[in-house]
Symmetry: D2
Subunit: 507 residues, 4 copies
């Protein structure tokens, strides 16, 4: 997928595409038809403005200033000032990955022709992506009805001011544009508003977070399967029939995957497990992972709409030759979905924690206390319980909602907000904490498998076990576990675990 | 709909059906085929138990006691004790409406034949509904993996112990069964577990809450439309094209309804509104109501699965002649959906509050301060702002998640929970607060319409205005507004507003 | 204490006094000096108003209407309208206990002479308390900068409108005043504001909640001591020296009380406990109860200030013959304290839950599973774990803060609030849930003591054990435990447990 | 204060001392008496261990392993392993400032002689501070009953393993010790536990946060005073008498300071302000800042106890020649205090936001919209409202409690936690956000002062105004405001504003 090209037309951008462009360096290309739409939209805007129709952000101001006329000779100055006055975001700076995702998310929706932006700016978005000119964007400051406080910093770079990363090196935008032989944009009417007024800060990085969650659930399924082998868990709850009588889509899928990972495992041998029913954290994992999957599907649906429809206000209607005022900058559905998925992940986290605690409990596993290789001499996985549970406590805290806490602003005109960028950000922190938590579970599972001398592992779990053991050897004596934890985290974050297991089960 | 009959077969129970049976006194009937399934399932259970297969809750104990054998001669005693030991719920008592919903939700899933319960108990559920024998169920005590602590109280009534309401009169279960000429149940194997182990406490009342939310959004759409008329709001944001370029299903629907309510309104006359763009609370209401609709659709989907599939563990598989252990009591998807919708309603609430505040603001409406009929002599709607915002503060508080806060119980076997009944309950409180908040908005809207002397109202809003004015006269001087607020609440809760408006627009 | 009289002078009202008047029917009396202060204050207000100084709420309107002049001949009408327009509160109605506490809290601060209210109204507060005329006050609607939306309903009753409870019977205020031979108040200048503008809804019921928390911690200490005996817990952590090296006041006190309760217990006998260290829930209870005590002391300090100082705005300064505008209606310190104590109680709750879970765990107690008297035949305290942990989940939810969620109201003049009444209310729900949770722990402790045949109990714990066993017999077979739980709750709520134990240790 | 020396004796360490050592490079010295106590304590531990008394963490294991004997010849190995096994913390790494605070907090409590640690380790803490050898400590992983997962990394460095910063350069601990001519520690009995088992991760950085909050409130008082001048606010609410009738300590102090800052201001001139009462955000700021001060005093009290008393378990009692098991690692009071202060700061934040919004509102200030210097050409402070309110939304989110969310760990022995380090951390994030929020208010206040041409400023506010204007010129045309915001933040964070104002009012 790396190095591949993503073709944009405003209608077919996928979460996977965002990931490829943002993280894997894929180039972007705009279809000719889309560019023609952009041009037609621009022409219409001029046509209407000349006919004296008042157009918000074009020949009228924005926000509370919507009552102020902007006359043609001040278009450039007005729009430059608009960019300046909207540069109000604060640290930290968005990662370059996120900046790419933002540029892409905005670029794609411009292609629908609802914005009326000048075509050269559209091309600039594409060039910035393809030349790797990444404007420095402080990421805090948006309340989510359009991420105007942050996206303005892109406009700043486009007119050759502010700073960017160019091929990874920080420099002034002016220098980067020169080096890449690109001309700074001269802003025309509505261009300022067109650049700042979009939810791309929520949409781009949000799409990456959804990609990460998708991977995380898959990882969680794998590690759960590995834990079953470490624990010598009862596989009865994986019975496909159980999922037929209760047709929740997500859990059916998770259970199918877990069965695939465990194909060929010793767990399926008769008489292996004698407990009638394991603890719920082991018995219900597919159900819980399924609940996260269901929630994710919901958010993905709304993200796909966001990535491929206009959130412009005003909105240019090419076919009707009208510009209408609307509220299409509203992304509350997206914020709600992310809030739900944060709570869902909090369940997934607690579930993993309980499985890990159980793996350390000799009474349940029949193995040693804290999976020590030597009761007398090695302390092993005791204190580490504080690590993953403290990370879970953070997740619980992050899972509190933040979307509905806002002020009435701009002279009481802007009396709604949804804080979607912050909601996305906190979700992304939840995901990162989960990489540690699942990583520690994986460490436990591998240790339990070793202590149990379980050799006949499943098709997928065997691959998982091997990935772990390549990096983290069996704990034969006490050592600095922070190092092991970091390695486990990296195996997950780098997708090494995922890729190796995917490969194994597809053989 | 009242007095109608609902036919049950385990597969087609709708939220509307639950509402009809629980609140409108509809009778229930079980299909013959379903009863045959129940009987077959019971027969299979006996067959397997006699073959010495260990069956959780049948010839083995439940929970941590799952390792304990239960021999046949103690079936009755064991199951009675099980009912007793599970009677641990605490006040308040569930309303009779909720009790009916609970009985119905459990009855319907029994018909799938996955339980193995004795057929006489199935009939008893039906009789209790049709004879209006409503066991007293303390409603707190469930953590949501099966509402065993509460549903046990139904079992108590079925064996002729504890208390019930019979045709609205409280009496002992014994007396009620006698009066209705019903025989108390003699419990057999697995019957205790079959009665207690279900999520009916979440499902039944949860379905009613979803019905209420459905009505509430419709009400919110109506009152928003009325506010537009009181405010003389700009109707541009209702333009259908705006919703075409951004295909979020809920907001398209809401905007369509609002247009229908406003059909024929003076707001559509040329030149009526001069503001280029109204405050967001007025401009984005359809979008926000749409977000709630989208969230609601998600929860309804999972509620329909819950109402029509087995959550039994163990689960009887008639076609395969097996009983399997599973985790089908997991209802986390449902809990997550309710959490999301609570947050969504918190947005809706704040939106309504802001609209009402705007209606009281002379600068925005061009009317008098606090909609007073006389600046000099009448204070009018000033302090009332504290009422609805304080109710909103409660909603914000209730919208905090509660589903993932649980303990590890039963000797660390039950280390997951989802608290679905509590999540449903807090959602229901949010809904009730919203009836006040929307009611107060309606009072403001009607007052603004009167002050504005706006006579040409929409088809639906005219009906809404009339319903309000029939109960609450124009505020011509200060009076005890608590009384008006309660009336406005009643108009909404009783569905009078809804029904009259539905009728009006369907003419 | 019942039937005693509380003398009021504005400066010495204690939380205990509030409890006596509100719940034990104590009468109130106003000192002569205080009444003279009230009269002087009223005279000053007239003097200033005649001199044309603008006085908020006197010869000027309130809230956003503060720019409106009120002329003398409309004083009565204006103030009556003010009462009407502030009657905007909604259900539920405050309990009669709470109403008494509210009346008392307001009455006492009036005596400081900062209000300028007419003396007859002061007397009316006293009469309402002494004649048991309790205005019906809907308790929701205040955002806490003065509880104006609710206290207005007192004013309504004073002018002979609205409803009251008179000696427990609901009737119109008019009738009650007649029956008690009291004349309705004729409102004069500033009287309306004086009645509504106070934080008495937070202060009165808040004081009762603090009284309840005080009792609850004492109860928790007792039940913890009982649990130690049921568990055969290690008493080493009670060593007074441990509390000397770490001088946190609350924990020193709790540990001293627990030692007193356990005086003479078998636990102090050599060799009784063999575990080097018990689980933290048993080892650290005094520390945790101490943390609650410390937090409580903080809140009590601010409550005492609230009960005995003026929160009037404007504020009459008798000695300087001035009326000043101020923000003394701010009670945020109080709200913060209640928020903290809610979180503190959430810790106490979880601690009790863990102790109870441990009592049901044979591995820790050496007794039977779930404290059953017969492993084979009685299920005992298994499912009940769901009851107390679900109540804890509610407490966790209630412990989320609500004080800082408010709107900007009254034309953006009232842009701060603290929601103190709601914060008090949710704290009171936490307290009530804890009565169940501690009650269930007490049931477990007594059962464990019986199973252990521990006969030599402590001086205080023996009394506690006896109170419990008088109401709730040993669980020799399964029975409806909801009944037992309610009894345990009642023992705590009625203070029977507290009183008997206090008596026992004071002998 | 910089470069000064702090003398340690275990009993008199102040928050100010922690700040000096951690941030200003002050050296530390241990009193001779204190070292003698340390030596005596060590001797006692050996004496008791030789007498075969079981001592937790000495000749017995820790946590669930407390039943395991540790024999003398394995002391070194056992303690090294203990350090290894406790090295389980994860990123991010604590700042060097925080590491110094941690070292100091632990060092001081060691001097009380309750630990029994070997004296060479005590000296090593001192040397690490004085030589600036700062162990790398990953800061996440503690649940707050002793920060064992993190403090272990100090032990690692002391034995010459892991990494440190030495004079700001990262290197191996081995190399740093060599360069500083220090010998690695050879661990003896109990040393491992003594190093890890302390709450220094909460106490040290927590003390720094309290110092920051202290400064922040002072800053808030100053900026509020400046805002009053920008707004031309009514100074009536500063009347000292208002604070006499309601003796809340914090607000009395804040109002006194604000009066001092405004000494000589034009605001005191007769006739300057004509509004009878300003919005609450302006009227009640001293009250609100006072509430934060009151809350801070509470936490400081418990922090001082924490810094100067033993939190060891077991605890060596020198005078009684005993070692007792206890729960002195409990720091829940501290956690509760931090939770309260977080909520208090959330109020302060919202208050500042509302003041800033008011400054941008022409209707309230009589100045231009968004404080623009030119209505026609400059947009000015419009979008910036999103910046500070989005930061407030984060604060609201952070203010949710986290202290009571924990698991039951270590074989159900460790069933309580308080998460104090995380609670401290989130409080520190709140503080940092507030620096931006107050900084933006200061920008507004200065702009309003300029637009109003208010020349006669107060003694303190004049200094504040000048500090701001030295860095941030008057906004005469639109510019990149992110740069201005960062400058405003820096003025506050660097304490430049504070110091200049302190100087000014003390002249």
């Amino acid at each position: 997928m790396k190095g591949s090209k993503v073709i944009l037309n405003g209608k077919t951008l996928s979460i996977q595409d965002v990931n490829n462009v943002a993280r894997n360096g894929a180039l972007v290309e705009i279809t000719e038809e889309a560019m023609r739409t952009v041009e037609a939209s621009r022409a219409l805007v001029y046509e209407l403005a000349n006919s004296d129709t008042p157009v918000y952000g074009f020949n009228r101001g924005v926000g509370l200033n919507k009552d102020r006329e902007v006359v043609a000779k001040y278009y450039e100055e007005y729009n430059r000032n608009l960019i300046y006055a909207h540069c109000v975001a604060v640290e930290p700076e968005a990662s370059e990955e996120d900046v790419r995702a933002i540029l892409l998310a905005r670029l794609n929706t411009l292609l629908l022709g609802c914005t009326g932006i000048q075509p050269a700016i559209v091309t600039m978005y594409k060039d910035m992506l393809n030349y790797r000119i990444h404007p420095v964007i402080p990421e805090r400051g948006s309340i989510g009805e359009g991420d105007i406080a942050c996206l303005s910093h892109i406009g700043l770079a486009m007119i050759g001011e502010g700073e960017v990363h160019y091929n990874g090196i920080r420099m002034t935008a002016k220098e980067a544009l020169e080096r890449a032989s690109l001309k700074p944009i001269v802003l025309g009417p509505k261009d300022g508003l067109a650049i700042v007024s979009s939810n791309a800060l929520a949409a781009g990085p949000g799409a990456l977070v959804l990609k990460d969650i998708q991977d995380l659930i898959e990882t969680a399924d794998i590690i759960y399967a590995l834990t079953l082998e470490g624990y010598r868990g009862n596989v009865t709850p994986l019975d496909p029939k159980a999922y037929e009588v209760r047709p929740l889509p997500g859990q059916a899928y998770s259970s199918q995957m877990v069965r695939a990972y465990l194909e060929g495992s010793y767990l399926w041998l008769p008489g292996v497990t004698d407990s009638l029913q394991d603890p719920l954290c082991l018995r219900g994992s597919c159900h819980l992972h399924g609940s996260v999957r269901d929630a994710l599907d919901y958010v993905k649906k709304y993200m796909n709409i966001q990535l491929n429809s206009s959130d412009d206000n005003p909105c240019v209607l090419l076919d009707e030759k009208r510009i209408i005022s609307c509220s299409n900058y509203e992304v509350t559905s997206l914020a709600l979905g992310f809030e739900m998925i944060g709570i869902a992940l909090s369940h997934l986290s607690r579930n993993s924690c309980h499985r890990t605690i159980k793996l350390g409990n000799a009474r349940f596993t029949g193995l040693s206390r804290f999976l020590t290789p030597s009761d007398a001499r090695v302390i092993a996985y005791g204190t580490i319980q504080k690590t993953f549970t403290s990370l879970d406590t953070e997740i619980r805290h992050l899972s509190n909602p933040a979307t509905a806490d806002y002020f009435s602003l701009a002279g009481d005109i802007e009396d709604h907000a949804n804080n979607t960028p912050y909601v996305v950000k906190k979700t992304s922190k939840i995901v990162d904490n989960l990489r540690y938590i699942l990583g520690i579970e994986a460490m436990h599972a591998a240790q339990a498998i070793d202590l149990r001398k379980a050799t006949k592992l499943g098709k997928g779990t065997k691959a998982a076990y091997e990935v772990i053991r390549e990096e983290i050897p069996f704990l034969d004596k006490d050592r600095n576990l922070s190092i092991d934890i970091k390695k486990a985290y990296n195996i997950i974050k780098s997708q090494e675990l995922l890729e190796r297991v995917r490969e194994a089960i597809s053989e």
